[in-house]
């Protein structure tokens, strides 16, 4: 894998340019003009809200007006709040199941698409398509399929659990979210796997087939070990994305039935409706720390890949 290490400029870019000092100052002004407005907007749009969120998580603000500093009280309340614990366990469980399903299917599709098949380009075009469709819109389409079409199919074949809508079934509603999230996330994982598979030296397959390895044996003993780095990256990127799940859930169950499928993002967004802005900011800060840990894991993994 080619990975970006923190920028290493070529040595020649350090060489001073043949310009008189006066002119160089003007150059400097253009460079600052390129960078500084972006930095200012970025600070207002990203850094300030992040700092605000962390600051207000230590207060009792309802989103506007006066507030008092209350220390860690919000955090203490967070860890005993069944709504929060429910949202975290649902989201983490959902993310784990979805990331495994997504990667298993994406890997198999990638293996299939790099085999000696016909209509390769057409098939790849179809498999990538879900990536470009709006999550909320496709969730509405699946909403119809799960609540109208599937019960009809269940009725027809006499399959008991399909007869009522999957979306209103408290035990199975999460499954619909897994299916649609995976449907949407498979293409990007698949493309990364295809890139990985394409880089494997073909010799290895020829040698192992001379040694009498079966196709399955080659997959397990040649392909898989070489793909471990890609699998790791895909699982971490996927897990991080699924933890932020929102669109698909809004389109399918909107957190229901009850609050069975309410994700972390959805609980954070209730902050204004219910006037517990500060409390949800504590929630957001915890969520941020979890995302940060995953990001650091990802960095570690990519750096190790680079050393290899």
């Amino acid at each position: 894998m080619t990975l970006t290490s923190p920028a290493k400029p070529r040595s020649d870019s350090k060489r001073p340019l043949p310009t008189p000092p006066a002119k160089r100052r003007r150059f400097e002004a253009t460079y600052l003009g390129f960078l500084v407005p972006a930095l200012i907007c970025f600070t207002i749009a990203i850094t300030v809200p992040a700092a605000m969120g962390i600051f207000f998580s230590f207060t009792d603000s309802v989103g506007f007006g006066d507030y008092n500093l209350i220390g860690l009280a919000n955090y203490a309340a967070l860890f005993t709040d069944p709504a929060i614990i429910g949202a975290y366990s649902f989201t983490i469980g959902f993310a784990l199941v979805t990331v495994l399903l997504t990667n298993a299917l994406a890997f198999l599709l990638a293996v299939g698409l790099t085999a000696q098949i016909r209509a390769r380009v057409a098939l790849r075009t179809i498999f990538v398509m879900p990536m470009v469709i709006s999550g909320i819109v496709i969730a509405y389409v699946f909403n119809f399929l799960f609540s109208n079409t599937l019960p009809t199919v269940g009725e027809y074949f006499g399959i008991e659990f399909l007869k009522t809508s999957l979306l209103s079934n408290p035990d199975l509603a999460w499954l619909s979210i897994v299916i649609v999230s995976a449907w949407q996330a498979i293409p990007s994982a698949m493309l990364i796997y295809i890139a990985g598979l394409m880089a494997i030296p073909y010799d290895l397959y020829e040698a192992s087939s001379l040694d009498g390895a079966s196709a399955l044996g080659q997959l397990v003993h040649v392909t898989l070990p070489l793909m471990i780095g890609y699998i790791g990256i895909n699982i971490i990127i996927g897990f991080k994305n699924f933890l932020g799940a929102y669109d698909v859930i809004v389109g399918l169950t909107n957190g229901g039935p009850g609050v069975q499928t309410r994700s972390i993002a959805m609980t954070i967004f209730t902050g204004f409706e219910r006037g517990d802005y500060a409390y949800q900011m504590a929630n957001a800060t915890v969520f941020f720390i979890i995302s940060l840990i995953i990001a650091l894991l990802q960095l570690r993994l990519t750096n190790r890949g680079q050393v290899k």
């Binding site: 809200p49 992040a50 000696q116 398509m129 990536m131 470009v132 389409v141 073909y202 929102y246």
Partner: protein, 291 residues
Amino acid sequence: MSLTLQQRLNKRSRSRVGRERTNWWATGLLGICALAVLVPLFVTVSMAFKSAKQAVDGKAFSLPKPLSIEGFTEAWELVNFPRAFTISFLITLVAVVGAVLVASMASYAIHRNWGKRFYRFSFYYLLGAMFLPFPVLALSQVKLTGLFGLDNPAGVAILHVMFGLSFNVLLFTSFLRGLPGELEESARIDGASNWTTYWRIIFPLLAPMSATVAIFAFLGSWNDFMMPSLIIAEQADQTLPVVQQLFQTQFSNNYHVSFASYLMAMAPSVVAYLFTQRWVMSGLTQGAVKS
């Protein structure tokens, strides 16, 4: 000589000599899997073209008979399609142009002045935000955009550019590092100003990376639901994905209208994808491997 699978596939398709037999099993299996993608899309298209009378029974797999566009005309009126489309289009346009220009200019400044601490620090500062998920910032951004009078499509467009900045700067700086420096130096010796060098020399050289950045900015912005639904205060100014909510609360049984509306919301990104496939695919792998 050791070939990778990639080189082998290229060679094979060029010489058209398939020494190995086609794997029909794999082809067939993939064809069946492709149905999982195609069926929901087929249902969308087929429901959209049904007449009100036919759509009301909610049968997903019956073909439209007679073919009718009343769903489209009704959806057009109901969600005020021209308005929602224009707003989505303008947000996406600003987000795409902004993503390419702001990120490439910032990246060029950082790249050229890597020796100076301020620029190096800025690079890491921008990169730090890659780990910030939107839900963490959302409520505070709602407060801020309200304060600045940006709780409207303009605010969403600006936020789209800023959210993409981290990753786009990473892509552009790594691309700039791979460019030969000679062209730039000869331009400078000819007395070109900094702006001229950027606009006439660097920006054209960045084209492949700009294409990648633009496509992903387009898809991200056009399909976004979370940010506009939270930031845009005026319901009449909502984007195309957000206005689809209408069919969950009201008119939920007019399937031909809702599906016509979904189809009109999806179509632009699907069409754009079909025309830019190659860049979508190569861009994703570049991006992912670098992230």
